[in-house]
């Protein structure tokens, strides 16, 4: 019994971080119909920022969230504004964004490799290897803190979307883009803000990833594949779905690791992806798509 609870706890602790990573990706799709294959590459960029902030200035990765979020917000706008609005009116916009972000990911990977080399990096704050023993349960401190920060940020995102004027406009644009335009939402501005916001979430994810998982430039492919599985399970464009998809798959993979060994853990995500596409292609909380 303790073992089951132990595995459950480890899964939940990973799930919070996965949810944060997936939330940005699903936000971009929900508001703008952008499938951002470069999302994890942006997370890795943020992880490098966090790494150098720690290495050169001893800034704790949990604190560097305050740096990576605004920096990635601005970087996001710098990437979004020249590239995306010009193709926005295309009937094949979503498909075009897949190709464009694929290219973007390759370019970013190349640049990261050029500047930061391909060796594994990782920040090492004191709590990264600590653990709390509580009622026979082993709780890694680093993961607990990361999930706590993720939960805070996701709650902040929810409050922003629910209670601010801009947030309401973002929700309206997600639900019906034309109607949002009709009631006076400047959807171009909302799209740009949402892209920046998605990148800021990627930024925070990068700071947390920097001490949870060793990283190197080309590793973003593995992460983006995993994130896509999470948001397809939850339903593309649904934030609630992204969180539930992330937490449930993290728990599932923890159990697979426990039963079959860590080699089988990545398989969990792709198997889930496979099954969900066969059984319920729109995902748990997605609407049947009209692309």
């Amino acid at each position: 019994m303790t073992e089951i609870i132990q595995v459950l706890v480890l899964g939940l602790l990973l799930g919070g971080v996965y949810a944060l990573m997936a939330s940005g990706l699903t936000l971009l799709f929900g508001v703008m119909r952008i499938v951002n294959l470069a999302h994890a590459a942006f997370i890795i960029v943020a992880a490098y920022i966090a790494f150098y902030a720690f290495d050169l200035f001893q800034i704790d990765p949990l604190i560097s969230v305050l740096i990576t979020m605004p920096v990635m917000f601005v970087l996001g706008l710098a990437v979004y504004l020249p590239l995306f609005p010009r193709i926005e009116s295309s009937a094949r916009y979503t498909e075009m964004t897949v190709l464009m972000t694929f290219g973007l990911a390759l370019v970013m990977e190349g640049l990261l490799g050029f500047f930061f080399t391909g060796i594994f990096r990782s920040t090492r704050p004191p709590y990264a290897t600590d653990a709390i023993l509580w009622a026979d349960l082993f709780i890694p401190t680093g993961q607990l803190l990361a999930t706590g920060v993720s939960a805070l940020l996701l709650i902040g995102l929810w409050l922003f979307l629910r209670y601010t004027r801009t947030g309401t406009a973002v929700r309206a644009t997600m639900q019906n883009r034309t109607s949002a335009q009709i009631v006076g939402v400047n959807v171009r501005r909302i799209s740009a803000i949402s892209f920046g916001l998605g990148m800021a979430l990627a930024g925070a994810s990068g700071s947390l990833l920097s001490y949870l998982f060793p990283f190197f430039p080309a590793q973003h492919w593995r992460w983006v594949a995993l994130l896509l599985a999470l948001i397809v399970l939850g339903g593309l464009g649904s934030l609630k779905g992204a969180v539930i998809g992330a937490v449930s798959l993290a728990v599932a993979s923890a159990f697979v690791t426990n039963q079959l060994g860590p080699d089988w853990s990545p398989m969990t995500f792709y198997l889930a992806l496979f099954i969900i596409l066969l059984v319920r292609p729109q995902g748990l909380f997605g609407k049947a798509l009209r692309i």
């Binding site: 009116s89 295309s90 009937a91 309401t168 406009a169 929700r171 309206a172 639900q175 019906n176 034309t178 109607s179 949002a180 335009q181 009709i182 009631v183 006076g184 939402v185 400047n186 171009r188």
Partner: protein, 245 residues
């Protein structure tokens, strides 16, 4: 001077052909208009141009003599030009109240928003009982009421409505048309596009016949219904369709 002038406008979608092929129209304040014509005549496209969702390829749209074509939809809305599209246009995961509040998105004064909401509930008392229901769960007629109510939240000068009776039961459609007729009394200029030409013309004052992207005829609405030549040339299918119901 006319409130709204459409001056030799051509427009189309993407790289496709011109749907509007040089149309000119004048719309006067406080009147109600119905645009009729066969499928593909460019009726909906005209409304989309006027509200700024689609920009004209040539020609221009003027409001009170000032050029407004080229502005964004939110800017045109601030000028009082409001569009109700024919496709499902509510925010399905928001409540009726949230949808109405979204209608007044450009109004920052809470008191004004509440005032307008009271007016909407006077026109659509049924919506008052549904304020907390998600819009996506309403019936077709109720949804159309929320759509029209949301448009009133804008307090528009010009209200353009595309096919309000689409997919509604005849009785429900009658209610919607009666409501639209009442809009003139509120000082709103109504431009209606309606597939069911008879119903549309009966509930408006002035009729405009469109075909192949340009204006073929305009005149008092009842005159169009009675003119056998226009009926035969442009409205044959549309009128008989109305008669079937």
């Amino acid at each position: 001077m006319a409130l709204l002038e459409i001056d030799d406008v051509t427009a189309g979608y993407g790289v496709g052909p011109d749907i509007l092929t040089g149309i000119s129209l004048e719309v006067n304040a406080g009147r109600s208009y119905c645009i009729v014509g066969p499928n593909g005549a460019g009726k909906s496209t005209l409304l989309k141009v006027v509200c700024g969702i689609l920009h004209p390829r040539s020609g221009e749209v003027r409001l009170n003599g000032i050029r407004v074509s080229g502005l964004r939809p939110d800017q045109l809305l601030a000028e009082g030009i409001c569009f109700v599209p024919q496709e499902q246009s509510l925010f399905p995961e928001m409540t009726v109240r949230e949808n109405l509040v979204m209608g007044a998105f450009l109004v920052r004064d809470r008191a004004v928003v509440n005032e307008r909401m009271v007016r909407v509930f006077e026109l659509f008392p049924l919506l008052k009982d549904r304020v907390s229901q998600l819009a996506g769960t309403l019936s077709g007629g109720e949804q159309q009421m929320v759509v029209l109510g949301r448009a009133l939240m804008v307090d528009p000068k010009v209200l353009m409505i595309d096919e309000p009776s689409l997919g509604l039961a005849p009785i429900v459609a009658d209610q919607i048309f009666a409501t639209i007729q009442g809009f003139s009394a509120l000082g709103i200029t109504v431009i209606l596009v309606e597939q069911n030409a008879r119903r549309g013309l009966e509930s408006t004052e002035w009729g405009i016949v469109l075909d192949l992207g340009t204006k073929r005829f305009e005149g008092p609405a009842e005159g169009i219904l009675d003119d056998p030549r226009i009926r035969e040339l442009y409205l044959g299918a549309a009128l008989s369709k109305g008669d079937d119901e």
